[in-house]
Point group: C2
Chain length 395, copies 2
């Protein structure tokens, strides 16, 4: 087995565990079952595309976390996490997608072995990877446990980034710059979208000699709807040619060691319509206002209100949130699912929080995205990537 | 809005609905809440990367299905599904990742409007996209409903593929052939894995003039662990160079219109070790036996038993399942999560069922994958892709 190369120091993992246990204490839980792969990776280093079967990391009252997953993936846990073999539990393969037995039946027995079956146990109730059936199994097999909702408990500990995390996100920013350069270079009427996506992946993945890094997969595939389809924010692509006279937004992220730097730009092929020029003006002015509010001590909603006020002045109403925290992520989402940049979110911004300032507009028959990923500073934000902030026109 | 181009005829969608309602009747449910994006797409055509927020398709006692999702994604439903606007319900954005309100609160009210709140309602209890919190919300707000587990009810209706579906999977097979050709061409000592993954995406996505198609994203990113790392089946890649004297398996899929053709091959750089040569011999002989059993009327376990018997003769014991159904898929899994090719699965094979015959071996310090995707026929299987079935050696 090769020497383990962790993405963070043992000390950083230890601090994360301490932070998590402090939050557990405040939440009144002795044990937390962490099903979110991003949280699992953040706590232990575990990295693998195994989240299509049940798995979790369990943080108990003391000691290192316990990794729990499919038997064949235990080898992956041994190779990518800092955990000792004794802290890695694999379940037999006949628990996989079985109608007779559930992996959480097996976990319940192991938690009983550890003496944790009658504890106060936090579970991530509203996480993709914690199904209703998983919860039912735990409740059935650990009737003496007291379960409570710990959704996002670990996600919140991830909000303020360490220097090493910021470094990875800056590298991801270099990657996304390269991706947008490739888009602008290749995008033209007649060029097929599937080919453009291949170019985007190429720019996002290939080793860069100058940077000394290659890229990782994004938690969301490239989104690049054109024309009226751009009214829908989450369409992917097809194999049809790009057309003159249409706007296309490109919502993509550079990724390094699972850390994301999302960034969107809109490309118009041909002479932009007044609608696009007006949108550009409103969004750029609004972004300036929002970025000015993006400093430690302000609230999440301050950024959104600043942006929305300018939009309104331009006669545009945006009825969805305008950003979310980013960092370490696995599909299906590169957001951290804690704060939102929207009116009513009174979370206080802290230095080294990181957000995708998602200033996209999705109207009835058009869409427009110019966004920035930012690091909150004492006096204002650092924009992670440097891609010309304007409507990109190819005439 | 552009003319809707559905991937299947209205008639095919109608048949799917009829099949689903028949299964609902047998299961004793009046209404089914379908959270799985693959099932949502199969029933309505809906296609978008929006499954990171709560959404579903509801099939009621009569009429077309109802699409339910985030307000901004309703535009996507209008553009990709056959549903009338009246059957598309968007929820307000302040339900997104909120700690105060849950999208299923909103859905409950809509189901009450439709007169379905006191019905027998099936839910996909063990689906990624149906969290414990989603179920708790439904139970709280529809206390007169009778809930029951309908996990995989729709997935089972997808098991036997239509001619159009088989056609898409054959196209996906052409794509995966191209991907493996690219791997074999590029793979050599010193070549970086991230660059190889860029090549794989390029071959998987770019428009092919001969075929007249471009590719789609796979539900699982390329898996390509080398050497001892190949003991872990679900590691992805890094930016390090490939090494001489190591085996690497490539588990990838070609995808067309969300239909998958997975296929794995193993490449050895340099002179293969005896372990790899022995594995090749055992797996190829075992696959022949398994493929012979892959015909209508036989059972799922017959394929597995045939394969395992040969492996055992060669002194190899595989303790995990050896295949699963495939077709239309979204991340995180290109399997259909119904049958498994393993001892004990007594599902009767039918013509036009499709499987990934996943004959991978993951041992203590090495791994080996040569697999086939197959269509069950009356007298034997069709292997979808045509990639030389052997250990690929580059000396």
């Amino acid at each position: 087995m090769p020497a383990l190369s962790l993405n963070f120091s043992q000390d950083e993992y230890r601090q994360r565990l301490v932070k998590t246990r402090r939050a557990m204490e405040i939440a009144g839980v002795d044990v937390i079952i962490v099903s979110d792969p991003s949280n699992m990776a953040w706590l232990t280093g575990y990295d693998g595309w195994s989240f299509y079967v049940h798995q979790c990391v369990v943080v108990g009252p003391d000691g290192d976390p316990v990794w729990f997953g499919r038997g064949q993936d235990a080898n992956g846990a041994k190779r990518t996490s800092y955990l000792a073999d004794a802290n890695i539990i694999g379940y037999p393969d006949n628990y996989v997608q079985s109608t007779e037995r559930h992996p959480m039946d097996y976990l319940s027995a192991r938690l009983a072995d550890l003496g944790w079956a009658d504890k106060r146990i936090g579970v991530e109730m509203d996480n993709y990877w914690f199904s209703a059936a998983a919860f039912a199994s735990l409740q059935k097999h650990m009737s003496n446990a007291q379960f409570s909702d710990a959704t996002a408990l670990v996600n919140w500990q991830r909000a303020v980034k360490s220097p090493q995390e910021i470094d990875y996100m800056r590298k991801a920013a270099r990657v996304v710059e390269r991706m947008h350069a490739a888009i602008f270079e290749k995008c033209e009427p007649g060029y097929r979208k599937c080919d453009l996506v291949a170019d985007i992946y190429s720019a996002g993945l290939r080793y860069d000699e100058t940077l000394g890094i290659g890229g990782d997969y994004p938690a969301i595939v490239p989104l690049l709807p054109s024309g009226t389809d751009a009214a829908a924010p989450h369409l992917t692509w097809d194999d049809q040619p790009m057309k003159a006279g249409e706007g296309t937004f490109f919502e993509i992220a550079g990724v390094y060691k699972r850390y994301h730097c999302p960034l969107s730009r809109t490309v118009f092929l041909g002479k932009p319509t007044q609608v696009f020029l007006d949108a550009e003006k409103a969004v750029l002015e609004g972004m300036e206002a929002g970025l000015e509010a993006a400093k430690a001590g302000n609230l999440c909603e301050d950024i959104a209100n600043a942006f929305f006020t300018v939009l309104k002045k331009h006669g545009i109403s945006k009825d969805n949130r305008t950003g979310y925290p980013i960092g370490l992520s696995y599909p299906p989402d590169w957001g951290e699912r804690t704060m939102s940049l929207r009116p009513g979110d009174k979370t206080v911004l802290e230095e080294n929080m990181t957000f995708h300032f998602m200033t996209g507009l999705w109207m009835d028959d058009w869409g427009f995205e110019i966004t920035e990923s930012i690091v909150i500073g004492a006096n204002g934000p650092e924009c992670l990537a440097d891609v010309p902030r304007r409507l990109h026109v190819k005439d």
